[in-house]
Amino acid sequence: MAEPLLAAKGLTRHFQIGGIFSRRNLHAVDEADLTINAREIVALAGESGSGKSTIARLLAMVYQPTAGEILFEGRPLSKMRSRKEVLNYRSQAPMVFQDPFSSLNPVYRVSHGILRSIKLHRPELNHAQRLAEAERVLTQVGLTPAAEVMGRYPYELSGGQRQRVGFAQALACKPKIILADEPVSMLDVSIRIGLLNLMAELREKEGVSFLYITHDLASARYVADRLVVMYAGHIVEQGPVEDVLARPKHPYTELLLATVPDPRAPLSDMAGADRGEPPKVVDPKPGCRFRERCPVAVAECATVTPRLRVLGGGHTAACHVAVADTMFIQPAQPSKDRTA
């Protein structure tokens, strides 16, 4: 099999929070393994605060990992030391940030960031070509008339318009992969579909891969090949998107899918409000972090952190209780210690 475009092994990131006398360790991401192949769209969904943006920021070299390694085309990111190498990497794997209100510099016009990306990452283009290219990417994300939008400042744009400026900046790099952190969360359904279709088209025609972070599982199903689900810093399930949606293995994924609302049907009272306490990711103890909300938890869940197990073709889940598809015989897994 071809080498993955981007691969993370044992990716871990902790943050220190609290004052000097009450210093505590927040486990944003613990031991995450993730691969994204060339021409692949991987959707990353999960609980708010579970570490999705942290993973994207680690992959984009915005944060340094506490532990673990990231390989891009087989090369460890930790080996990229010079500014030039890092810049080059960022142009091949740009990130679209979740909050477009803080990620766009308010003192520069829209044209600035886009033209700068083009100049930096595609030095072969001349001035006129750069302008044409900038207009092209803005038009692609539906910001028209592009020539006029380029002259605006971020504060002259609505939330969804700013969000698309971030996406256009990433496109301007002609990247191999875009790390897109909730790139359509502020868009109405119609413009959202346009952007999802654009992602599919870029993958089809130019072979661009995507890490697509989203809370909109229907849109993940619409564009993605694989779905990865996180809960409280752990990847709890991953597999082919149709498979995970049709046969979720982890109780959190089940809860998530059961809660997806259908706008056409009246609200069912069942899965009403799940009032679980927020999971403890500050100085967590070993064990499954979902256990307190879990309807099927067993004693083991309180002491042993479940590892991802293969439960179907390319489908894995981190749950002591989940059972494999009946047709599927689980191969022996090399055991690896995983604490906390």
Binding site: F15, I17, G18, G19, A45, G46, E47, S48, G49, K52, S53, Q98, D99, F101, S102, G142, P145, E148, E156, L157, S158, G159, G160, Q161, R164, E182, S185, M186, L187, D188, V189, S190, I191, R192, I193, G194, N197, H215, L217, A218, S219, R221, Y222, L245, L255, L256, L257, T259, V260, P261, D262, P263, P266, L267, G272, A273, R275, P278, K280, V282
Partner: protein
């Protein structure tokens, strides 16, 4: 309706709607000319009501909310209309007068948490500032922890700075701040766009419960059609700075009258059933600096008629739903 702001009159629901927005018009002055982001919008909100507002990205939703809460700053300006809240016109009030209204009587959850929070202060100290400014007898720490639990955030994060929270946690912290007091009106601009569906459902159900208990009204802007479908009593569909359709949510969902509303309700994918390619609504939004003549949706409308590009459609009242579309000229009564 009193025109001069009188602050201390006790408000009673029998004297009129909680909020009455009339002919509200907002323009941004730009070098290209003025951008009419909100054009002649009128509606009421009753005490305890949940009003949803949907519409295309850039159609003027946030601008409308800012205008209601008097949070606009140049180059934006209210060029016409009034916002009557509990019997007082907010337009033209001084900052001091507005200060007495904010948080206590009307709170706002902005689209961007980053704009709403001070980046160099912890969440807890920002809650303290709000509570203290209004001289509350409540135990500040206790109330702060209560609202954090309410929105599902570990109260340890009262000690965190905004950048230390995830996107969805920041959003929820903002909702928590808006609920520190029990205001009469809570205005929310896409408050749950960064939340997973489980957290979102639980937050919405709890907000609805609080609303039933305390009787506050909510104006809720969102792109999430299932949210408005399940939680709002009434719905406004905006297009190009104007109200395109307004009515009881169920009615608008079951029988959308405006072709734009129809398009909006057909555009989303599903997690079940066959995977079908979708196209969305073709065409691009109108340029608000020079909107097209006639109906603003005409250039994209699948049911366009020759008259649509000549006559600017008024709002027609069709069976208690207001709709700005010439297709309804025959059956509908002219509104207002």
């Amino acid at each position: 309706m009193p025109s001069a702001p009188v602050l201390d009159i006790p408000y009673s629901p029998t004297t009129g709607p909680l909020l009455a927005v009339r002919d509200l018009t907002v323009e941004y002055a730009t070098p290209r000319g003025s951008v009419g982001a909100v054009d002649n919008v009128s509606f009421d909100v009753a005490a305890g009501e949940f009003l949803g507002i949907v519409g295309e990205s850039g159609c003027g939703k946030s601008t409308l909310l800012f205008a209601i809460a008097q949070l606009l700053s140049p180059p934006a300006g209210i060029t016409a209309g009034s916002v009557t809240f509990k019997g007082r016109n907010l337009v033209g009030m001084t900052d001091k007068q507005l200060g007495a209204v904010r948080w206590r009587e009307m709170s706002v959850v902005m689209q961007s948490a980053m704009n709403a929070f001070n980046p160099v202060k912890t969440i807890g100290s920002q809650f303290r500032d709000v509570l203290r400014a209004h001289d509350t007898k409540d135990d500040i720490a206790k109330r702060s922890q209560e609202v954090m639990r309410l929105v599902g955030i570990d109260p340890v994060h009262l000690g965190s700075y905004p950048h230390q929270l995830s996107g969805g946690m920041r959003q929820r912290a903002m909702i928590a701040m808006a609920l520190l007091f029990t205001p009469d009106l809570v205005i929310m601009d896409e408050p749950t766009s960064a939340l997973d569906v489980v957290a979102q459902r639980s937050l919405m159900v709890q907000t609805k419960e609080l609303q039933r208990e305390l009787g506050f009204a909510i104006i809720f802007v969102t792109h999430d059609m299932s949210l408005v479908s399940h939680f709002s009593d009434r719905l406004i569909v905006m297009y190009g700075g104007q109200m395109a359709e307004a009515g009881a949510t169920r009615k608008v969902f079951d029988t959308p009258a405006h072709p734009y509303s129809k398009g909006l309700l057909e555009a989303f994918p599903s997690i079940r059933g066959p995977r079908v390619p979708l196209l969305g609504i073709p065409g691009s939004p109108p340029d608000l600096a020079s909107p097209p003549p006639g109906c603003r949706f005409a250039p994209r409308c699948p049911s366009v008629m020759p008259s649509c590009t000549q006559i600017e459609p008024p709002l027609y009242n069709v069976d208690e739903v207001l709709v700005r579309c010439l297709l309804h000229a025959e059956e509908g009564a002219l509104h207002g």
